[in-house]
């Protein structure tokens, strides 16, 4: 497939990294230095030009693209580029990135002339709400309208003996769930029944949301469900997270250092309690019992501040911390410093956009462990070699079927169930095997 990319920033890099092996990429950016950095590492065509110039777009060959992605950091550029590309590339799909939820609403109402809109803030908020739902999770994603959840857990030393140190076929795993992968040090195993989960492992689990919560309780017995969250920073990311969490009935407290912004957010979100404070004043933290919150999210603009505030919050007793890492390198620093989960909004956005690069039958793709594994949501063709076969007959080829969606309802298949044509299959696979798996189905 021919993919045309506008913007070679962080998001652009992540997209190139995920797609360069299987697709033909052209990247357009105004800065030659960024394009040079890109060509040093990847085999992609680059073009120095302006995404808002129709002439530049045409000169770079946008008309031949099957997929056009506008992912600069500026909404206006993405909008204009997206609209031009839609005209030029007759058979292409246009995806634009935005940081404004309002554009997503406009797009849903059919008012924006592009095919898809991906909002970094909204995606980040959803990513965090999925993590909050399963507090022991390191990473998680939902499929089939939320009926299927895929979660990556760290296995704690005090995890329940129902599931660790026993072969998987004997383990009392929560109903309808499967262990898709065990990550032990540098190795990743696609487990068979005779293997066991050990403390210190990292595992990937597929199952219904209830099972994900049950796994969370088994692997990290101390964590209860999150009902009270403190968010540091009420910028676009922080307020988007607050809105999503409030919608789920979670109580939210926001800490914002700018009084003007605090007022705006307090007016916007009547259900949230908003403080005008820096969040690093010990008196304030103590007086407002910030330490008693079930979870704290650090969504300030400055990664260093997020790290510092998180450390302080942990000292005050916050049990679960989630850091927003704007720079990819901060993820490492956060994890090293003991922040439980780190989320990079640009990575989340890239992941969301990459989903569009797959087969049209593929609805959704999630990336786990960087880009080494993917979770695919594929509809089976009539002529697939697997149609009509039971699941236990299928060969293990580095892929695992976690769930199928038939007539809109998720089914968690057991050995004797039969795959039918038209089923949507939620499948876990290595990234390099993904096109092969899609082809087979």
């Amino acid at each position: 497939m021919k993919v045309f990319l506008i913007g070679a920033g962080q998001v652009g890099f992540a997209i190139v990294d995920a797609l360069h092996q299987d697709h033909e990429l052209t990247v357009l950016d105004t800065e030659a230095a960024r394009l040079a950095a890109l060509t040093e590492r990847y085999d992609v065509a680059t073009y120095e030009g302006d995404g808002t110039s129709r002439r530049d777009l045409a000169a770079a060959g946008v008309q031949d693209a099957d997929l056009v992605i506008a992912c600069t950091s500026r909404d206006e550029v993405n909008l204009v580029a997206g609209m031009f590309a839609r005209r030029e590339a007759k058979r292409g799909t246009t995806v634009i990135r935005t940081s404004n939820v309002e554009y997503v609403e406009l797009w849903r109402a059919g008012q924006l002339d592009v095919d898809f809109v991906v909002c970094s803030e909204l995606e980040t908020a959803h990513a965090i709400s999925r993590i909050i739902g399963v507090p022991a999770a390191r990473q998680t994603d939902v499929f089939a309208e939320g009926q299927v959840q895929i979660v990556e857990f760290d296995v704690a030393d005090d995890a329940s003996s129902d599931v660790i140190n026993v072969p998987l076929r004997d383990a009392k795993v929560p109903k309808d769930s499967k262990v898709a992968a065990i990550i032990r040090g540098e190795d990743t195993l696609l487990p068979r029944g005779d293997q066991a989960v050990l403390p210190g492992d990292r595992i990937v689990v597929i199952g219904p949301p209830q099972a994900a919560q049950a796994w969370s309780a088994l692997l990290a017995p101390g964590d209860a469900t999150v009902k009270d969250v403190v968010i540091y920073g009420a910028g676009r990311v922080g307020s988007a997270i607050a809105r999503v969490l409030l919608d789920q009935g979670i109580s939210v407290r926001l800490i914002e250092s700018s009084i003007e912004r605090a007022r705006v957010v307090a007016e916007m979100l009547p259900a949230a309690r908003v403080y005008n404070a820096t969040g690093i004043d010990p008196d304030f933290l103590d007086r407002e019992r910030i330490g008693q919150a079930h979870a704290a999210i650090f969504a300030m603009r400055d990664d260093a501040k997020n790290l510092y505030a998180a450390s302080l919050a942990e000292v005050h007793g916050v049990g679960f911390t989630i850091g927003i890492a704007h720079e990819p390198v901060s993820v490492i620093a956060f994890e090293h410093a003991g922040i439980d989960v780190s989320v990079n909004p640009r990575a989340v956005t890239a992941e969301e956009i990459i989903r569009f690069a797959h087969d049209p039958r593929t609805k959704q793709v999630a990336l786990l462990e960087g880009t080494r594994y993917e979770v695919l949501d594929v509809t089976t063709r009539d002529k697939s070699e697997y149609v009509g076969k039971t699941f236990k007959e299928m060969p293990i080829r580095g892929a695992l079927i976690g769930a199928i969606v038939r007539d809109g309802r998720a089914i968690f298949p057991h050995g004797d169930d039969v795959l039918e044509a038209g089923d949507r299959v939620i499948i876990f696979t290595k990234t390099e095997d993904a096109p092969r798996v899609v082809e087979a189905l």
């Binding site: 914002e256 009084i259 605090a262 007022r263 307090a266 007016e267 009547p270 309690r273 908003v274 403080y275 005008n276 404070a277 304030f284 007086r287 407002e288």
Partner: protein, 513 residues
């Protein structure tokens, strides 16, 4: 250097006047010119009943003539009236209107209304829709003079300037602030971008409701349910119900009419105390759900119900009345005092102190914003309660940011400060007024007790009408001394214009640059 300094000191000019007086006088004159036309109605009544019409003709001619003269004298002023002049226009127009109302009393009021202070008090009480009266013998008043009293309240209810904005093109520019000064409540409900349209809608609804009440009451007479409710009485009382005025043509107020008439009047008083903009959306635009969604309306109805029930229990408990009569007296008196109408179905001045204290408290409630009711108003109580709650929250957590909302929308901090300032000034004016009345009454041996003095001040400031003791609903304000009467006139004026537009005139900054 030294020379200029010396010169500068010696020739320092007087600071210039900041208000454009000619433009102000010009506009007040124009309003007066048209206001005089209101004399047409009593002249018609006088002709119909074969009474002398010259007092009204003279009053109208004097008012229009004065207005015309003022307008002509300042005809050269080209600057239009701005925000600064608006306060003075409103304040002066209302003083002028009260003067206009008092002229027929001066000419034809006889002993009970002929004294200038008494006449002016009656005039101010009329236009401000207070309903406090110095009349002691209602039989002595002619029908035309009686109707004039009622009619002044009706004119003042929705506001003279609002009416002028509705019909006079000249006021459509820059009239918003004057309209806000005159319309009751902290802010005008935005019915329309164009104030002339808003003003017309408000007056239209006002006229419509007045007609509806007149018909409802008159039909009681036609059907033989209430023989005393003639067409004259129906119109006279509709004229003073809808503006929450409270003047009656009867010595014993609404007690003169049947139970059915009392229930109908109670209903219309309740409507008059509700937000007209809200009623326009609910009734005219047929969106009844707006009533349920409006926080102020819900509180207004809840307060009326709770206070009615409490008062009914007190009345029944003390054996003043029983059964339907007790409930009716409870509802009628509560609604009448709370909406600042001031009608009475019974002489509550004779009731025990507990009942009086209930009514006294209700004098401070008032109607809704955008109604014709006076006093503090329900929305200000509601917002004050929210302000207090926030203050208490911020005592514990100083960092918390809590916008105050009304019907879901944040209220800006300036409006909130204005509400706090209003309530402080209101209480201050009430205290000063009560002191003057108490002191003068004590010196002049007028039988007015401490509670009576407090109630008289509150009733005037809140534009309610009756107080307790000799100034009760079936009594009269005539026994009070002249200083007390002048104080009452000032309080009624302050209360009708909601204090701040008047008090602004007392600041130095208003007059000088």
């Amino acid at each position: 250097m030294r020379l200029t300094a010396a010169l500068g000191r010696r020739t320092r000019p007087r600071r210039r006047l900041a208000v454009d007086l000619p433009a102000t006088i010009n506009l007040v004159g124009m309003l007066g010119k048209y206001l005089g036309l209101a004399a047409v109605l009593p002249i018609a009544v006088a002709l119909w009943y074969g009474e002398s019409f010259w007092p009204f003709l003279a009053a109208g001619a004097i008012t229009s003539g004065t207005g015309f003269a003022l307008e002509r004298a300042t005809a050269g002023s080209t600057r239009r009236v701005g925000v600064r002049e608006g306060f003075l226009v409103v304040a002066a127009t209302w003083l002028l209107a009260a003067g206009f109302a008092s002229l027929p009393y001066l000419f034809a009021g006889g002993d009970q209304l002929g004294h200038p202070i008494d006449a002016y008090l009656e005039g101010m009480s009329g236009f401000t829709t207070t309903g406090a009266s110095v009349v002691t013998d209602f039989d002595e008043l002619s029908r035309s003079l009686g109707m004039w009293r009622q009619f002044t309240q009706w004119l003042g209810g929705m506001g003279i300037i609002v009416l002028a904005i509705a019909v006079l093109p000249r006021l459509r520019v820059g009239g918003r602030q004057m309209m806000e000064s005159e319309l009751p409540g902290p802010e005008i409900a935005q019915l329309s971008e164009r104030i002339a349209h808003t003003a017309r809608v408000l007056w239209g609804l006002y006229v419509g409701l007045t007609l509806a009440e007149t018909l409802a009451l008159a039909s009681l007479g036609w059907l033989g349910i209430d023989d005393r409710m003639t067409e004259y009485q129906a119109l006279a009382h509709a004229f003073t119900t809808m503006p929450t005025g409270g003047f009656s043509t009867q010595a014993n107020s609404i007690g003169a009419f049947s139970a059915t008439a009392q229930w109908i009047i109670a209903l219309f008083m309740l409507l008059a105390g509700a937000n007209f903009a809200l009623m326009y959306r609910g009734f005219v635009r047929r969106r009844p759900r707006v009533f349920l969604r409006d926080e102020e309306f819900r509180l207004y109805v809840a307060l009326a119900l709770a206070a009615s029930a409490a008062l009914a229990v007190e009345i029944w408990g003390y054996g003043i009345a029983e059964g339907e009569e007790a409930v009716r007296a409870g509802v009628f008196q509560t609604v009448s005092i709370m909406t600042t109408t001031g009608y009475a179905s019974m002489d509550f001045a004779l009731w025990p102190t507990v009942c009086l204290l209930s009514l006294f408290a209700l004098m401070f409630v008032g109607g809704s914003a955008g109604s014709t009711g006076g006093s503090i108003k329900v929305v200000r109580h509601l917002l004050l309660a929210k302000i207090l709650r926030r203050e208490l929250d911020q005592t514990v957590s100083p960092e918390v940011v809590m916008p105050i909302r009304l019907n879901g929308a944040p209220v800006d901090e300036r409006t909130l400060r204005a509400i706090a300032a209003f309530i402080l000034l209101y209480v201050g004016a009430w205290g000063v007024g009560a002191s003057v009345i108490a002191i003068e009454s004590a010196l002049g041996n007028v039988p007015v007790g401490a509670l009576d003095a407090l109630a008289i001040s509150a009733t005037a400031l809140g534009n309610v009408g009756p107080a307790f003791g000799v100034t009760g609903p079936f009594g009269s304000f005539a026994p009070l001394g002249d200083a007390s009467k002048l104080t009452l006139i000032g309080l009624m004026w302050l209360g009708r214009l909601e204090i701040i537009p008047v008090v602004v005139l007392l600041t130095r900054h208003y007059w000088r640059l």
